[in-house]
Symmetry: C2
């Protein structure tokens, strides 16, 4: 049986300076970002932000990531037109992962699928 | 304007051996897992699996992770009772992130909140 949950309040509001101080960037100065469709709640993709990507995302409302393969800042949709407009950004309890809710234009995945998570494990349990 | 998406089919089914071959484990033998509530679609948490955690999760239906801080396999809820029953597991397009949908008993976050993503950025854009 589940133990009773400890008493806690609900959501906490964070300013950008507070978030920048709190976020535990990895050894490459990056933090993973889970991106979720604000309307359907579908999880669209997982990517990475550095401090510049986060700051630009919050300043413009257009989601920016840091491409590890190309080693540069990347505004989502800059070549495809499949942009992401930020509606909510959250930091997790140990400040090492972000959750971005977005209005997605077109599709999130470079394969043309709505979500990058299209490969489904079969036959479990 | 968004370009037309390339023509693609929908979801792809993967067997466990195919998944184990395909997944791009990081230099520590781990892969990040986004965990989503199967009913509410709330994103609950982000954690890590190694091959053993993935195999045990699929064999038992109880979500197992690998704890980087404790350096050991960890069945979610083994001390708190707040277990996660797997309903769907997916691999993303470049096979470096998993998405687990779960029926959560109790709460996902050790703070007692339903989701670990309770810190919300204020005042953007």
């Amino acid at each position: 049986m589940a133990k009773a949950a400890p008493q806690t309040s609900g959501d906490v509001r964070l300013s950008l300076p507070e978030a920048l101080k709190q976020i535990r960037w990895n050894e490459s100065g990056l933090v993973p970002v889970v991106t979720q469709d604000a309307k359907s709640n579908k999880v669209l993709m997982m990517a990475w932000m550095n401090e510049e990507a986060l700051t630009k995302t919050l300043a413009t409302g257009d989601v920016h990531y840091y491409s590890r393969s190309r080693q540069k800042l990347w505004r989502k949709g800059e070549t495809s037109g499949h942009t992401q407009k930020l509606t909510d950004l959250r930091v997790d309890c140990d400040a090492d992962t972000l959750l971005a809710k977005v209005v997605q234009t077109g599709v999130a995945c470079h394969t043309g699928r709505p979500s990058c998570f299209y490969q489904q494990l079969e036959d479990f349990s």
